[in-house]
Symmetry: C2
Subunit: 599 residues, 2 copies
């Protein structure tokens, strides 16, 4: 069974006691009015919506799937009603500026809300998630008139948004995009081309869909420098603002996928579709990156949400399924066998999930706060520092969270034994759904290359220092903190390895970028290991500071989980470090394609 | 696309040049006639059948699935014809004694053939795989009259077999079995109970199905000591031997599963079904274990086969998909982008698969040979040694091979990017199919407990020494072998860790079995790492010995892969060792179920 209850205790404790919401978010002029009660109410309301409305639709949506008829996509039953409630609750425009009809709440709350939506029903969350990304790009790059016209539609949920990047020949490599945009007078352009794998590209949840499309202008230079961003509505607007005639966009099919059966993945054919430019000509990649960064963070958070559901479901099953006896002595002699949660190897699997989920949530919220500070801190230095940190951590969150989420879903399935493999239980759905997260919005390999090839060398290590310096300070300040115990030396050791690996890879990257690229994923994993270790340390400090006032469940579980993290998870840094430092020339083509040379 | 070509070069080289087929199998009186040509012909014939008949049905079977109507199961189209060819080719009785109509070939060839069948169509291979297991149990435990009556049916493929163990309340814990067997005069018993998750429990491939069923006699002691094994045919035999009346066995449903859509997983209800005892009363677990050991080896080999298909498919895709440019310089300036096989992070993924598959195949064949020697070596000491080695390695092969096979399938999917997620490409099917292998025939957690709790302490470490001593000898003899280079010190280091971990866990197991059980999976992984490292070393030695006479593809690829294995895979031993040695008391219940105490 899919089991999920919103982790509200943890979220509140992280925001207010660990990450200093008051000092870092409420202190910003924009959020001065945002008191604890409001934040708590938002979280509780989202939790209720997710648990009561979205979770019950999750397995049903998977089973029923989508219907594609004559270019239209029919969502599974219940999705339209749920979306209506969702939009009416203001969730589509949670972070959009109130000037455009949004709630104007900080990104950090969006992170928490997105986790809950994804945990309850990832497929459902994709449509509003893309609307958010589109709105974010418009907020940053749209002209005032465009914003005033388009943003309220997205904020209200009346329209949804998409990101139209991929083409059959252009996936990771957007430089290969062929979709064309011909000027059609004034601000208008005619867009023609084929886009594939477009999430929420067609559906019946909203009256209109605003496609943000990457295309080339006639005079575009070759490659990614020649790509522009266009807003192309499914229906062209009548002068009054309402939807009017069908635009030249057709959905020619939806993919049959491994999972996410309730989320349409569309092929869209644009034939002289009318669109408008967003941002400067040939500036599409930059505009798209603002959308993609938000989307990458969201994908990491999707992983986190799914991992939470996987973990809760596994804990519940392990507490109920009776098989065998605990090794030392029967735990429930009154029953024919012990619940399998008393078997150490089962419990180990539960720990492996939970010990990563808790600090991952902290890191996601931390980055959410940094995004808010990057946008709204009065001091430009503070803005810059926050922006760097968020940029640095975005690929880490996207890749590491989805890697461990996939692992968590597989682990939950393993805990369920044979029952995990049959559809009725709903656990295998979690695996099929979460599987895409390591692939879309840039594969995790691309994320690792982003971290290693772009973020690491940026400004001679400036971005890296936004993480390393505060961590060094933290370690220096807490050397003797009794709350941290053996976690601190273990973290210091792993951090030392990360520092040495960073130096080595910076050196190697200058000499031979290919050599460094071969260990990019190991580097990202080491990076994440240290970042989550740091979060654990901060969480334990916060717990110690609050003492008896901290929520009992956290007080009982976190110290055990943190101890497990340093004893059983941080040692991974040894292997990752050895892999990174292992000599060069290890990946000759002949090793995997021995006939390639002679072909 | 699912791409697979039989790895015949590697199989032949492993059998004849690496593992000394002549000296260890042909030297056995039973197989004295078995020359290289015959072995090669068997392998080639199996390869042809798999590639031409089974592979084309794999994606089709997944898509079409099974039909369940009125208790009958209809297999996907093509499966009946393929099975007829398969049976006619003598593949069902490959290792069965010719006295009972089998081919009398050694188990080691069954290992190679099973790998190919699973690689091409795992779902298809399950039915004959279970027949093999049933035949094996009958050969070991049946009375001569039973064998003469039943084995020829299985050898010819006219009947198939099943293993009926699991019940809703009894999965890993077979002591909880409730199915009853009432004596009905003479050798006859009436079996009643419900069995679930029965692979190939019902289908239309054969005229009859022989269920081997675990059940309790009326006077049975409690737990696993009170379980007996019965042979229960779907149709009761007429005196002439042909099938006659329906027996009291009904298939009441088949599971909808994540994968293996072409392999029926049945609920079987036994209602006073007539059966006969196999082996002694209350001796069912022992008899079942002979079946289960063979089945566990087969499951590991299924994993290997799927991993091979995953890897070949990924290599093919990576050689064709054009995205981006290789880091240092364009590799195919004539094309708009380079094939992604030139991206180091993609190539790393391919290496990660291939570097484990090759030595895994060697280990599987090695164990196959040991099983043959355990049965047929004239010297009792040699039989005993071989039996120990096979028993020791069986859980390692089952668990480690399926763990890395799942990883390989996921990696192949990752290499395919978005295309890996859509059904049309057939790659996501590999993930869904292979997923069950870490669960069935004893979860991988159970395998790890078997290794740690049963095999490690057996005879004060006698079983362990069957692996450690030859490895020590090997290391001593090859200390300066130029062919091995840096592999040897890396292997020695990992082996040293394994030895220390074994001692520590033996000690800990005596003191507190629960403490040891929490790291059982890490121990198995460390064990497998060293075993595969040893295989690599032996493979490199064999390659050096053959020089130019070795197949070019192996000469070109193996040294690179082995080097990758020692530089990037063996370092995992550091982390596994640290995890094993990390202090105790790490898995308190409160960490994952903080409310449990107060409930």
């Amino acid at each position: 069974m899919q089991i999920w209850r919103a982790p509200l205790d943890a979220m509140r404790f992280l925001l207010f006691e660990t990450l200093d919401f008051e000092g870092r978010i409420r202190a910003l002029p924009r959020f001065a009015e945002l008191d604890r009660e409001t934040v708590a109410a938002v979280l509780e309301e989202a939790a209720r919506l997710a648990a009561e409305r979205l979770l019950p639709l999750n397995a049903r949506g998977d089973r029923e799937g989508l219907r594609f008829e004559g270019g239209a996509v029919r969502m599974p039953s219940g999705f339209r009603e749920a979306y209506r409630l969702f939009a009416a609750g203001g969730w589509c425009g949670l972070t959009i500026d109130p000037a455009y009809g949004g709630q104007g709440l900080p990104q950090v709350l969006q992170v928490a809300v997105s986790e809950m939506i994804s945990a309850a029903n990832m497929a459902f969350g994709i449509t509003p998630g893309l609307s958010q990304g589109a709105a974010h790009a418009l907020e940053l790059w749209g002209r005032p008139e465009q914003k005033a016209r388009l943003l309220p539609k997205l904020a209200s949920g009346e329209w949804s948004g998409t990101m139209c990047l991929t083409e059959p020949q252009a996936g990771s490599d957007l430089g290969l995009i062929r979709t064309r945009a011909e000027p059609a007078g004034g601000d208008r352009f005619r867009i023609s081309g084929t886009k594939i794998f477009i999430s929420a590209g067609e559906h019946d949840l909203t009256d209109n869909i605003l496609h943000l499309v990457l295309a080339r202008l006639p005079d575009a230079p070759w490659g990614t420098r020649g790509i522009s961003l266009f807003a192309v509505p499914k229906y062209r607007l009548a002068p009054g603002g309402g939807p009017a005639a069908q635009n030249g966009v057709r959905c020619t099919g939806i993919e049959e996928k491994m999972g996410l059966h309730a989320s349409p993945t569309c092929t869209l054919v644009f034939e002289e579709a009318e669109g408008e430019l967003v941002g400067p000509p040939h500036g599409g990649m930059k505009a798209m990156f603002s959308m993609m960064n938000a989307a990458r963070l969201l994908v990491g958070v999707q992983g986190l949400g799914l991992a939470e559901t996987a973990c809760q479901s596994a804990v519940a099953h392990a507490g109920e399924r009776l098989q065998g006896r605990a090794p030392a002595a029967a735990q429930r002699p009154d029953l024919p066998a012990d619940p399998i949660i008393h078997h150490p190897d089962v419990r180990e699997m539960l720990y492996a999930m939970r010990a990563r989920i808790e600090p991952a949530r902290a890191l996601a919220l931390e980055v959410g706060m940094m995004i808010d500070r990057a946008q709204h801190a009065p001091d430009p230095g503070a803005r810059r520092a926050a922006e760097d940190f968020a940029a640095l951590m975005t690929p880490v969150i996207k890749a590491h969270f989805t890697d461990f989420a996939l692992e968590a879903a597989l682990t939950a399935q393993q805990v369920h034994g044979g029952y995990g493999y049959i559809r009725e239980q709903g656990i295998e759905q979690l695996v099929r759904d979460v599987r895409i997260t390591t692939i879309y919005e840039g594969t995790n390999g691309i994320q690792a290359l982003d971290l290693l090839g772009r973020k690491l060398p940026a400004g001679s290590g400036r971005m890296l220092r936004r993480f390393f310096h505060p961590l060094e300070d933290f370690l220096a300040r807490h050397r003797d903190a009794p709350a941290l115990g053996a976690l601190l030396p273990a973290l210091e050791k792993a951090f030392g390895r990360l520092q040495r690996a960073s130096l080595e890879l910076a050196r190697r990257g200058l000499a031979d970028p290919g050599e460094a690229a071969g260990v990019a994923r190991d580097y990202l994993a080491l990076f994440a290991l240290v970042a989550l270790g740091w979060m654990w340390a901060r969480m334990l400090c916060a717990l110690a500071a609050r003492g008896e006032a901290a929520p009992p469940a956290l007080r009982r579980s976190w110290p055990h989980l943190a101890r497990y993290y340093h004893a059983r998870v941080l040692p991974l840094s040894a292997t990752l470090f050895a892999r990174i430092m292992a000599g060069s020339g290890l990946l000759a083509l002949e090793g995997v394609a021995p006939g390639a040379r002679s072909r």
